[in-house]
């Protein structure tokens, strides 16, 4: 005796088993990402300071287009199967997987850019003043401070953050990954060459300045440990990325075993593609909310 309704739907529910199964799983995923989004809201509303404009919008938009395209191609691959066109199915499925890996590639690049970008906090206001002037000149220093206050207080009118405690953003020579004031202390480094970022909105690159490690209160790359802003950014996008990867692997498995399945059980195969597609669309759905909330708002 076989398990019923694996291919044909059950009349009163109109569903075959796997479709009900995937929707149930997606419901739990809604709660998972919902829990993370709730955490995002709470952390942001409760934060003194919430950065803005730190993520590249062109790159994020590109990735959004890539995922939307992959959603279209995955549903097209299912439609091709229903029309009996195996070759067309394979093409669309391959495109979907290509989009997935494209998305992940772009994301990895974004992560790399962040991991090699640093913020330095100085031990007191006078020291900070000295370094800001060294980097941006007298007028530049006032501009940068004003910009910081405007940018970072943009959506948070109750901020209590002292505008004099601003950090300097830039790169370290050699672009090391994950350096911090702790690694500097361990290596007993005394000075570092720091490449400050241009003023926000301009492309004038200031000259590199020499910074004494003893003047540094804290240094951190843009990593989860930097701030709750980056912590939640990395956690949510990494979890989403893992889902993209997992989905791509499953769809890849379907693509590679397509010939065998199509010959043996074409209807069930079409169902599997539908179920895989449903998961894929959910991954796209999460990004549809993730992109504006994390990148734009």
């Amino acid at each position: 005796m076989e398990i019923p309704y694996t291919v044909k739907p059950r009349p009163d529910t109109g569903l075959y088993n796997a479709k009900l199964g995937i929707w149930l799983f997606l419901a739990s995923e809604v709660m998972l990402f919902g829990g993370l989004f709730s955490s995002y809201i709470l952390l942001r509303v409760g934060a003194d300071l919430w950065p803005h404009g730190m993520l590249s919008i062109p790159i994020g938009t590109f990735n959004t287009f890539v995922l939307i395209a992959s959603s279209v191609t995955v549903v097209m691959s299912w439609a091709s199967l229903k029309l009996g066109k195996l070759a067309s199915f394979k093409l669309y499925m391959a495109l979907t997987i290509a989009c997935a890996f494209g998305f992940l590639g772009v994301k990895s690049y974004e992560y790399y850019v962040k991991f090699t970008h640093y913020d330095v906090w100085f031990k007191d206001d006078a020291t900070a003043q000295k370094y800001f002037i060294a980097a941006y000149g007298e007028k530049g220093e006032a501009d940068v401070r004003k910009q910081f206050v405007e940018r970072f207080h943009l959506h948070n009118t109750k901020a209590t953050y002292d505008p004099h405690e601003i950090q300097m953003a830039g790169h370290l020579q050699g672009n090391p990954l994950f350096a911090s004031h702790k690694t500097l202390a361990k290596a007993k480094t005394e000075k570092i060459m720091f490449d400050p970022d241009p003023k926000f909105g301009s492309h004038d690159h200031p000259k590199a300045i020499e910074v004494l490690v003893s003047d540094v209160k804290r240094m951190s790359a843009y990593v989860p440990a930097h701030s709750t802003y980056f912590a939640i950014y990395f956690t949510i996008t990494a979890l989403h990325g893992l889902h993209v990867l997992g989905g791509a692997l499953v769809l890849g498995y379907f693509l590679l075993t397509a010939d065998k399945w199509w010959k043996k059980a074409p209807e069930q195969f079409a169902n599997r593609i539908e179920v895989g597609g449903l998961f894929w669309h959910f991954v796209d759905l999460v990004w549809i909310f993730l992109f504006p909330i994390i990148y734009l708002l």
Binding site: M1, E2, I3, P4, Y5, T6, V7, R10, T13, L15, N17, A18, L20, G21, L24, F25, A27, S28, E29, M31, L32, F33, G34, G35, L36, S38, S39, L42, L43, G46, A47, D48, L49, K182, R218, S220, V223, P224, A225, H226, S227, T228, F230, A231, I232, F234, T235, L239, A265, Q268
Partner: protein, 608 residues
């Protein structure tokens, strides 16, 4: 005859060759729901016993702080080193045992036993199905669970030992303890949550899609209803904890500050993290699962009891419809009561009142369920076998547990009782002489179906009476200790705060000698409870070989479909097509030739 999905190439082979799948495929990597159910059962019982032993060590420490534990103390020192120097539990080790006792009992013992073991074995049988909807997902779910169990168990032996921040793992403590026990705990939890989610999807899909023809929703046995609601709770309540677990893992491994506030000072030094996080966020995410979790603990137990009561009173359950609607209501409301675990976190009066109100509302369907079960006894022809004894005891024990929860549900009384031994007594009454008694009852009840032999009744009755007395002697005094003001999680049993401590002379609220003496009394009672389990363990193993053989496939003369199979049920469960003609509790129907009419039996000839 093999039950497989149509995709399995092996199905094609086995129809032709009937080849023996071999030991590994039959017993280790099986996709058969009955094998998986038994795997879950044995693993869960092993963890139940292990968790009990952890508690015994703690009880010794509470009764006699600073005194080496006899026999076991030496072993602990040998295995764990300095934390058990001289055979005495250090406070750190006590905390680790405490945290792991809770974690193991809830996530590795009771839920797997109540939901996964009983559910997997019985639900497909009760709905007339061939197997679960997704047998391979079922196997994956067990393997995830086993992996999680291994991770949790191994954490005891890593440098620094197991997690120490309580089963609730509150930040910042959980995040700042410098050892890796907490990380292992989090990884273990992620594995266990994944296992539960896979299981929940399977159960819900199975109950919705695979009910036999004629088995409408209102003809389903209450056990299956209870498991169905439990599965929904697991499906939707666990993910936020998984999210929180991921966040805490990132805090520990990558040094972020999701749950670490700005300005945190640890051991006198400012903690070098970014800050900006919220410890309360962890609590909300944890208890969002934590509260529905307790309904996961109790609902399958209520389901088990219902089946046993109906069968052993030879009459239908009283108020079947009320039971069904109440269990649905409990499942639904359980999602919006969680902050009654957080009354002391500084919430305002409005939100506090909201949670108090929903907490009071949820007690209504719970009481309805208990009342229906009590009423089901009225006029019954009661057979006092071992499963029935445990079921009967469940009713007042759960009553005590539930009623003592009321003062905890009101924030004004919870102010005094929060984090005291009263809380420990309350929840142990519900889970220990509550759920665990129901699970014992279920083991005695379904054992004949699984093995073809009864468990020994004499040993069963000894197990029952000693356990009943033991449970009450252990937990009843704790109500008084808690009312008196004794806090939870004190590794010295409160000796620091007792009147016996000269530093507390004249302190009005110091713990009295009565309270301290009760510590010793409770520890003795716990030893009695441990001894009470010995006849059970012997019985489980011995009866497999020496137990009295059943006279038929339906030795208890029950009506539900799980008893209309061969013994033990083969692959595919049923030897003929199942069609259901009637409800699940057609006992003692006037005019019928026997005092029970199975759900799938053809219409009997009525007596004249």
């Amino acid at each position: 005859m093999q039950a497989t999905t149509s995709t399995h190439t092996e199905a094609a082979h086995s129809h032709e060759h009937h080849h023996d799948p071999g030991f590994l495929r039959s017993y280790v990597f099986s996709t058969d729901h009955k094998v998986i159910g038994i795997q879950y059962g044995f693993t869960a019982l092993a963890f139940l016993f292990f968790g009990f032993l952890l508690m015994m060590c703690m009880r010794w420490q509470i009764a006699k702080p600073g005194v080496p534990i006899p026999i076991v103390g030496g072993m602990l020192e040998a295995m764990l080193g300095d934390v058990a120097k001289g055979g005495v539990m250090s406070p750190d080790l006590y905390n680790a045992f405490g945290a792991m006792h809770g974690t193991i009992m809830v996530f590795l013992a009771v839920v797997p036993l109540a939901f996964a073991a009983f559910g997997n074995y019985v639900v497909p049988l009760q709905i007339g199905a061939v197997d679960m909807a997704f047998p391979r997902v079922n196997m994956a779910s067990y393997q995830c669970f086993a992996a999680g169990g291994v991770v949790m168990f191994v954490s005891f032996f890593i440098p620094g030992g197991a997690a120490q921040g309580g089963w609730t793992s509150y930040s910042p403590l959980a995040s700042v303890i410098p050892t890796n026990g907490q990380t292992f705990w989090l990884i273990g939890m992620v594995l266990l949550i994944t296992s539960s989610l896979l299981g929940a999807v399977n159960f819900i899909a199975t109950v919705i899609q695979l009910r036999a023809p004629g088995l409408t929703w209102m003809r389903m046995p209450f056990f299956t209803w209870a498991q169905f609601v439990t599965a929904f709770i697991l499906l939707l309540a666990f993910p936020p904890l998984e999210a929180a677990g991921i966040l805490q893992l990132v805090d520990k491994v990558f040094g972020s500050s999701f749950f670490l506030p700005t300005g945190l000072v640890v051991s006198g030094k400012p903690y070098d993290v970014s800050g900006g996080g919220s410890p309360l966020l962890w609590q909300h995410l944890f208890w969002f699962l934590g509260h529905p979790e307790v309904y996961v603990l109790i609902l399958p137990a209520m389901g088990v009891i219902s089946e046993i009561i109906a069968c052993n009173t030879r009459k239908p359950l009283w108020g079947y419809k009320s039971l069904v609607y109440s269990v649905l209501a409990v499942g639904f409301i359980s999602f919006i009561v969680w902050a009654h675990h957080m009354y002391l976190t500084g919430m305002g009066t409005k939100i506090s009142t909201f949670f108090q109100t929903t907490t009071m509302i949820i007690s209504i369907p719970s009481v309805i369920i208990l009342t229906c079960l009590f009423m089901s006894l009225w006029g019954g022809s009661i057979r006092f076998n071992t499963p029935m004894l445990f079921s009967l005891a469940f009713l007042p024990m759960f009553g005590i547990g539930g009623l003592t929860g009321l003062p905890l549900g009101f924030n004004f009384s919870d102010l005094h009782l929060h984090d005291s031994y009263y809380v420990i007594a309350h929840f142990h009454y519900v889970v220990a002489p509550g759920t665990i008694f129901a699970l014992f009852a279920g083991i005695y009840f379904w054992y004949p179906k699984m093995t073809g032999r009864y468990m020994d009744e004499t040993l069963g009755k000894i197990h029952f009476w000693l356990s009943l007395v033991g449970m009450n002697l252990v937990f009843m005094p704790m109500f008084f200790q808690g009312l008196y003001g004794m806090s939870r999680r004190m590794s010295d049993g409160g000796a620091t705060y007792a009147l016996t401590n000269p530093a507390n002379e004249g302190v009005v609220t110091a713990l009295t000698t009565t309270v301290m003496k009760l510590n010793v009394f409770v520890t003795h009672a716990a030893v009695l409870l441990l001894i009470a389990q010995v006849p059970f363990i012997i019985n489980v193993f011995m009866s497999m070989f020496n137990g009295k053989k059943v006279e038929s496939d339906n030795p208890w003369q029950a009506t539900t479909l799980d008893w209309q199979t061969p013994t033990p049920p083969p692959h595919g469960n049923f030897t003929k097509e199942i069609v259901v003609y009637r409800g699940p509790y057609e006992y003692s129907v006037p005019g019928h030739p026997t005092d029970f009419t199975p759900q799938n039996a053809p219409e009997p000839k009525l007596a004249k």
